[in-house]
Amino acid sequence: MKILVPVKRVVDYNVKVRVKSDGTGVDIANVKMSMNPFDEIAVEEAVRLKEAGVATEVVAVSCGVGACQETLRTAMAIGADRGILVETDAELQPLAVAKLLKALCDKEQPQVVICGKQAIDDDANQTGQMLSALMGWPQATFASKVAVSAGKATVTREIDGGLETLEIALPAVVTTDLRLNEPRYATLPNIMKAKKKPLETVKPADLGVDVAPRLTTLKVVEPPKRSAGVMVADVTQLVDKLKNEAKVL
């Protein structure tokens, strides 16, 4: 059984982004880039399924600029067997990525696609669901537990107010939530090994996909800043302020 894992190159989790002064976007020049954390969880889950003997091959896919090769190498250092880069300098929105992934799914015929639930840059939370819909497959989003056996997957999902467990027929799309697993650190030998794993590059046109954006970003601004208030000396003063000044008690 083959598992496909899409991975996105994003501004590192620990970087506080700055909005460009001309309002056209955020400044990502000379900023550390990493794999989207939810995608790292997806790669880890796929590799664990392979280690458990459930999956036979883990294929990592990234869509974007040439530098996404690094993201694919990271996925292969965690344990993915090979990588596919859909290379383009064009802006890619979730619908376009879902279509690119559909074209790859048609070709690669994976039984499971494991995606991060959202990327931490555009915070869209769409691609996995869109891919699932385009393929006509079932989906299990926001997974905190995944078990795969004999043509089906049992997935526990994090929903508002608790958890639910679904049984879905394969092939299917699963998207990861934070608590699914804790990704391993890639060891140096595995990083070296990853450099020798196969990495294929294709273009969106090779896949016959129109990636033209549907949304135009008119401007990007900083959110209104919240300014620090006052420090209170003790609980009595705090209660007084909350009752008489803020009037929230």
Binding site: D123, T154, T217, R226, M231, V235
Partner: protein, 313 residues
């Protein structure tokens, strides 16, 4: 032009998130139709018909929707949009786990983009949405014939009562047969839901343990009728379950009063609560970043200050 609002409900009643979504819909202009997809959902449909500003309620009531599976609910929404012969200009749902699960399927099958978690409506095709966990706000314009949009509920007031919309029954789509719900474990609590609470008492790593978390914060939350929340650090340390988490990767909240206790104020936590009306921080570290966003800060040992506070309110 009709704006179709997808109701989130439990068949017996509408979820509050639906009311915030109706308010967002009202800013677009045009008629508002609410679609209730459920099983024995007559009461929820009736509640929807009483929401102010709603002109029509469409109900697809069938056993097919008992699990509220994304596949079946999305198929029903598509059928409604298809049958409208182009009169539906927008499809809106709350950006809850329900809306986030279902709506991208609808967008993909309509071959349109989705605009996620809008916090403001600029015009019928232009919206403001947070990116980078709320560290930036993007204004985006859609060129698609149908705008598929999820709504951050904390950014819009709840619509009131006073409507008397006609209720129309629809025929339900067939079951996709792809997905089966095995079970749900909902956290049982007498407290208000995090997303809907007027007051939230939230604890961080400073609580020291799960026992301390409950022993110290619960009496205060009980006194205030507050929901309990937590930082990711407290969740990761195992003090409380994940559904307590407020932050970029947890729940986004905006209560009247947010009490942050023993929370340092990591960016990812601030992203989830900085739209609260009043923020109070209690922390023993005067340098904690949480004080930079707090309206009222108290540098104190939380184990002394919180019981005092509980006694004083």
């Amino acid at each position: 032009m009709t704006v179709l609002v997808i109701a989130e409900h439990d068949n017996a009643s509408l979820k509050g998130a639906t009311l915030n979504t109706v308010t967002a819909a009202a800013k677009l202009g045009g008629d508002i139709a609410v679609l209730v997809v459920g099983t024995g959902a007559g009461a929820a449909a009736e509640a929807a018909s009483r929401v102010a500003g709603v002109s029509k309620v469409l109900v697809a009531d069938s056993a097919v929707f008992a699990d509220q599976s994304a596949e079946n609910v999305a198929a029903q929404i598509l059928a409604v949009v298809g049958a409208s012969a182009g009169s539906i200009s927008h499809v809106l749902a709350p950006a809850t786990t329900f809306g986030k699960n279902v709506l991208p399927r609808v967008a993909a099958l309509l071959d349109v983009a989705q605009i996620s978690e809008i916090v403001a409506v600029e015009s019928a095709d232009t919206f403001v949405r947070p990116i980078y966990a709320g560290n930036a706000l993007a204004t985006v314009k859609s060129a698609d014939p149908v705008k598929v949009v999820t709504v951050r509920t904390t950014a819009f007031e709840a619509a009131g009562e006073g409507g008397s919309a006609a209720v129309e029954q629809l025929s339900a789509v067939a079951d996709s047969g792809l997905s089966k719900l095995l079970g749900r474990e909902l956290t049982k609590s007498a407290r208000p839901e995090l997303g809907a609470a007027k007051i939230i008492v939230s604890g961080g790593r400073g609580m020291g343990s799960g026992e301390n978390y409950h022993a110290v914060l619960e009496p205060l939350a009980d006194k205030l009728g507050a929901a309990l929340g937590a930082s990711r650090a407290a969740v990761d340390a195992g003090y409380v379950p994940n559904d307590y988490q407020v932050g970029q990767t947890g729940k986004i909240v905006a209560p009247q009063l947010y009490l942050a206790v023993g929370i340092s104020g990591a960016i990812q936590h601030l992203a989830g609560m900085k739209d609260s009306k009043v923020i109070v921080a209690i922390n023993k570290d005067p340098e904690a970043p949480i004080f930079q966003v707090a309206d009222y800060g108290l540098v104190a040992d939380l184990f002394e200050a919180v019981p005092q506070l509980a006694a004083a309110v």
